[in-house]
């Protein structure tokens, strides 16, 4: 689906408002005619929003995205979804780590307990 670097850069430029009016028109005509191109554009859109939330975009790309794509409620909801997924993901990692730690601690205490019984 996503293979061509030049094409990916073109799609990113569209979302960041870096294309001329003519280039935008050509881009949109292609979206109407080519389902695979539309799908690739959707993939890149999500990834740009990921990079925005992860703060992996340059300052100017951030500003461009905020003043274009992120002006719509739908895109804002996507950004919010990504933020919540990160929260949820990190909470899950914390719980997993805590349970591993508890298990580790339990094992140490149990070993010590067995050691005491054997010594007695």
């Amino acid at each position: 689906m996503v293979q061509n670097l030049a094409q990916e850069n073109l799609i990113r430029s569209y979302f960041l408002g870096e294309l001329s009016q003519n280039e935008q028109d050509e881009f949109e005509k292609r979206l109407l005619a080519d389902p695979e191109f539309l799908q690739t554009s959707r993939v890149i859109e999500w990834e740009l929003l990921d990079d925005y939330v992860l703060e992996a975009l340059s300052g100017s790309d951030r500003v461009n995205l905020e003043s274009r794509l992120l002006m719509s409620a739908q895109q804002q909801r996507k950004v919010q979804l990504i933020r919540l997924l990160r929260l949820k993901s990190n909470a899950s990692v914390f719980i997993k780590k805590r349970s591993l730690f508890t298990r580790y601690l339990g094992r140490i205490l149990f070993t010590r307990y067995l050691g005491r019984i054997e010594a007695a």
Partner: protein, 153 residues
Amino acid sequence: MIRQSLIQIFIWKTCSDAEYLADETLDRVMLRVPKLRETYKGNPSAYIHAVAKKLLAEHLQLENSVHENPRTTDIETEKMFGCLERCLSNLSPYSRDLILDYYSEEHPKNVSHRKDVAEDLGISVNQLRVRMYRIRKTLEACMQACMGQESSV
């Protein structure tokens, strides 16, 4: 397919009523079809795009080109979190683990993020991108349905 593409273009142009605009574009095109059949030569998508562009200009004029930057409220965020829990539980365990791992802070917060996740999973970056796209799409549709139900309660 063309309708879906039009909706997507209007969304990316930050139009709040993308579905209406897509339908209006197609209605206008359909009205012209009998005449176009005799005279129009070239790619039909170019004509559809021209109609959509004109409609967008009219729409923006009506909206006075002013967009308000929508912000989600705390109540909405709470609702979204509830829906997210519900929608994540609808995913297969593999997809759920994959998306949670993808967004984990344990991966670097830069451009090599996707590469790092793909390496961890032993798949190519492209495979990861396609899988992530499918999961997000499912999750987004579920979230939309769930948020719709929540707000109608």
